[in-house]
């Protein structure tokens, strides 16, 4: 096995009949910012909690620097964590909160004081040292929680949707803070979110969770340009999935598909056709679609509605077989479209991925 900093190997966790995490394996290099992205209930938190050590796992192993940490109780794992809910100790001041893990470790007064000051300035809350948690905004509380989790220099920092309770603007601000803190400290971060934009913005790599399994892991660009499953294609970015009547010539990862209205599209990507169910869908990103000349390659559609969105516009289209799809493009190129019009739209078919359903 390759030796990475943190390895999760064949992790499985069931709650009675419910399998929360099913055979998850991850190799995480030191200093990486890895995000678990997926819908609610997909097993992200359970995986994170397994690393924290709160619950017995059903099977599998977790190794930190090649040593299994399964036998180590959570308070001896030396792992930092920021929770989804606010978890500052309500009866302690900001400074005392940050000092708590250091006091528990028996460090002397001056060391603790110095470290607390360092941490508070890292999260830019030095002026708030004497405040009580109840006197802080949600964003400030999460920053103190971050300072507390980093105070003892943990090898790994876990963050379970730390920003989900905050409003959009504050979220954007703190995302920038988190990125900066990651760069300044070099700590390895496992971050959980269900927000794809947040994942794309923060992460070195993203692991997409679905039904307790990892559907795909890679950089944001990997996931967007080369989605491994239909689920990933749908979760990262917007997608249309065109119905496909039949597929021919599956070789060299290229295929030719016939759509329900008889249109034949050539040179489609078929990286992920394995199960031979014989039923397919064709992924087309709304941004790829463009109005094409009559007689060129593409599909014939009817314009249903055009929406102006500032920089861009989006159009709701209907295919010949009655499927609704979206087109998105610069406002200028869509200006001529009106509802009821029938036009051709085309795109670069080589980018278009066939998914078996």
């Amino acid at each position: 096995m390759t030796s990475s900093f943190l390895s999760i190997r064949n992790l499985k966790k069931s709650y009675g009949e419910v399998v929360a995490v099913d055979d998850v394996s991850l190799e995480i290099p030191r200093g990486e910012f890895l995000t678990f992205l997926g819908p609610s209930g997909s097993g992200k938190s359970t995986t994170l909690y397994a690393v924290a050590g709160f619950d017995e796992i059903t099977s599998g192993d977790i190794l930190l620097e090649d040593r299994s940490i399964l036998g180590v109780p959570p308070n001896r794992r030396n792992i930092g964590m920021v929770f989804q809910r606010y978890t500052l100790f309500p009866h302690l001041s900001v400074a005392e909160n940050v000092a708590f893990p250091l006091r528990v470790r028996g460090q002397d007064r001056t060391t603790v004081k110095k470290r607390v000051d360092e941490m508070l300035s890292l999260v830019r809350l030095s002026n708030f040292a004497d405040r009580m948690p109840a006197q802080l905004s949600g964003g400030q509380q999460q920053r103190v929680a971050l300072a507390r989790a980093l105070a003892y220099d943990p090898p790994v920092l876990l963050m379970d949707e730390p920003l989900s309770a905050l409003d959009k603007k504050l979220r954007d601000e703190i995302q920038i803070e988190i990125r900066r803190i990651h760069q300044e400290t070099g700590v390895t971060i496992l971050y959980v979110t269900h927000d794809q934009e947040e994942a794309l913005r923060l992460s070195d790599r993203i692991a997409v969770f679905n039904h307790g399994r990892i559907e795909q892991i890679g950089t944001g660009e990997d996931l967007y340009t080369k989605p491994a499953t239909r689920f990933v294609a749908e979760f990262i970015g917007d997608s249309n999935f065109l119905d496909v009547a039949s597929v021919a010539d599956q070789s060299n990862g290229r295929a030719c598909a016939t759509l329900p209205d008889g249109t034949v599209l050539d040179g489609l990507s078929t990286h992920h056709v394995t199960r031979h169910s014989g039923r397919f869908e064709l992924m087309v990103r709304p941004q790829w679609l463009a109005v094409a000349k009559e007689g060129s390659d593409g599909i014939r559609i009817t314009v249903k509605d055009v929406t102006y969105l500032g920089d861009s516009s989006s159009a709701l289209l209907e295919t010949g077989w009655g499927q609704a799809i979206w087109l998105k493009g610069p406002a200028a190129t869509l200006r001529g479209l009106t509802a009821g019009q029938t036009i051709m739209v085309g795109w670069d078919f080589a980018k278009s991925e066939l998914f078996e359903i």
Partner: protein
């Protein structure tokens, strides 16, 4: 709301009247007793023909009254400590535990509160006679702790329910052992709940008379038992004075407990 107070019109005054009468009905005996304790009549004639502090002087001069009050106080404190400690353990199991039969256990913990006190008293008396606990301090403490326990469980469960388990988890990840996390984080965070549990536990013992009558011995009497006993011997205004002091301490503690509840519910 179905009934809007502000739209009741004339009916409003009827309601106010009824409320006033009920309040008076509840308060009158207390006011009556307090007034009588300052009345100069040996026979507790009402309205008192004159005013005096004589009965209070007599009360404080009689060591038996003082002894009874001190016994009540000591007993109350012991019951409070026991009831809060047991109440915390029970509440922790009820709120944080994940085991079958929690609902049943919770209901069981509440039984001393809903069971007729006299039934509890007779049952305990019968059992204590058998094991040699009747008339002893230990028996008294156990009996009153049983009565106080449900109040402690309610107060502590409520505040524990409001205290997010994730905060305790955070303390553990910070390096504290589970016990350390409970001691340094959970307990201080729910201190208002603990205080309120302590007050209610103390009161449950302090003004309890039925079980106390069964538990008491000639040498071990609480203040309510002493009042009860004195009443049956002779009717003297000293009893009114003792009762007044009992009522006043109870009122003070109740007020503190009530305002604590208010803070907790915010």
């Amino acid at each position: 709301m179905l009934l809007n107070y502000n739209q009741l019109g004339r009916l409003k005054y009827v309601l106010l009247g009824i409320t006033g009468v009920i309040c008076l009905f509840l308060l009158l005996p207390v006011i009556f007793i307090i007034l009588l304790s300052f009345g100069s009549s040996q026979w507790m004639i009402f309205p008192p023909p004159g005013w005096t502090l004589r009965w209070y002087v007599e009360l404080f001069a009689d060591p038996r009254w003082f002894e009874a009050a001190f016994t009540s106080f000591k007993l109350g404190l012991m019951v409070t400590v026991l009831s809060v400690i047991l109440g915390f353990f029970a509440s922790y199991a009820l709120i944080r535990g994940r085991f079958a039969g929690r609902g049943f256990l919770r209901a069981l913990f509440m039984t001393p509160m809903v069971m007729p006190v006299v039934v509890v008293a007779v049952a305990l008396y019968a059992m204590f006679l058998r094991v040699g606990l009747s008339g002893t301090w230990l028996g008294f403490v156990i009996a009153h702790t049983i009565l106080a326990f449900p109040f402690a469980v309610i107060a502590i469960s409520n505040s524990l329910e409001r205290f997010d388990k994730a905060i305790e988890d955070a303390a553990i990840l910070c390096g504290a052992s589970h016990l350390e996390a409970i001691w340094r984080i959970t307990l201080p965070s729910i201190r208002l709940g603990l205080l309120s549990a302590a007050l209610f536990s103390f009161l449950a013992s302090w003004d309890e008379v039925v079980v106390a009558i069964f538990m008491a011995s000639p040498t071990l009497q609480t203040l309510p038992v002493r009042i009860w006993g004195a009443l049956r011997q002779d009717l003297t205004p000293v009893i009114a004075a003792a009762s007044s002091l009992l009522v006043i301490l109870t009122l003070v503690l109740m007020t503190i407990a009530a305002s604590l509840q208010k803070v907790l519910n915010r």
